[in-house]
Symmetry: C2
Subunit: 112 residues, 2 copies
DNA sequence: AAACATACATAGTAAATCTATGTATGTCAA
DNA sequence: TTGACATACATAGATTTACTATGTATGTTT
């Protein structure tokens, strides 16, 4: 089970990344994350929806209600311009931390 | 400025990694992290000490007071066996999330 | 002797989280 | 046709967490 902290740190970049290439809605995002992670990340809807609402409040994404052919209503989220910029920043930060960790994991002499 | 979440998620693996190869103490750990990250990660002592205390309570690290040649007292932390195992787990989890993000960043077709 | 760097500690406020719960509807098998 | 299950979204509020602000102490430099 992934730590709370790691889930928290990766949720925002993951969601924004998923929405970068196509609109999606809560339920589908959960499935996408599960699939992408090889079944290791299993988000609950109760944790995702508040995050989506927050990202929407921050104007990084925006929502539209649509009705699918089967008649089911879904709230589709789309990445806004500000969201794209935020994603770039998230990506930069993640890579910074990742390279710091990688450095120490691959080369112990970096500590001296 | 790195997000709170990212700092939280990386603090534990970073500290354990630093202690894997040599004993260290709070003040020095802060400097090591700063140096390793190219100046991008600047931890405050107020956030680090509670984490060290927690890791100690979890028996992942253990502390010994020592007096340096200049007469200054320092609390040196050392990685315990359980800490090594915990680090391996942290590393595995981090890499899992990292590869999920990397996958989506490098290959948009993975979403389809 | 003042300023600064080194070194550790924690109370308590401030904030975030996400579990538990609720609503609603479509599909399919028995 | 009804019960089970999957789909789909929402949020109050208890619980947990984080870390700022503050305090102590001492060595070094100017």
């Amino acid at each position: 089970m992934l730590s709370k902290d790691l889930v928290a740190a990766s949720a925002k970049p993951l969601i924004l990344s998923i929405l970068l290439y196509k609109e999606s809605y809560g339920y589908e995002i959960i499935q996408t994350v599960k699939k992408l992670s090889g079944g290791n990340m299993e988000w609950t809807d109760g944790m995702l929806y508040p995050i989506l609402h927050r990202l929407e409040a921050q104007e990084l994404i925006e929502a539209t209600w649509k009705t699918s052919e089967e008649g089911r209503k879904r709230k589709y989220y789309r990445l806004k311009k500000e969201g794209k910029a935020a994603l770039a920043k998230e990506q930069k930060h993640w890579n910074l931390v990742n390279s710091t960790l990688t450095k120490i994991w691959e080369d112990r002499t970096c500590l001296t």
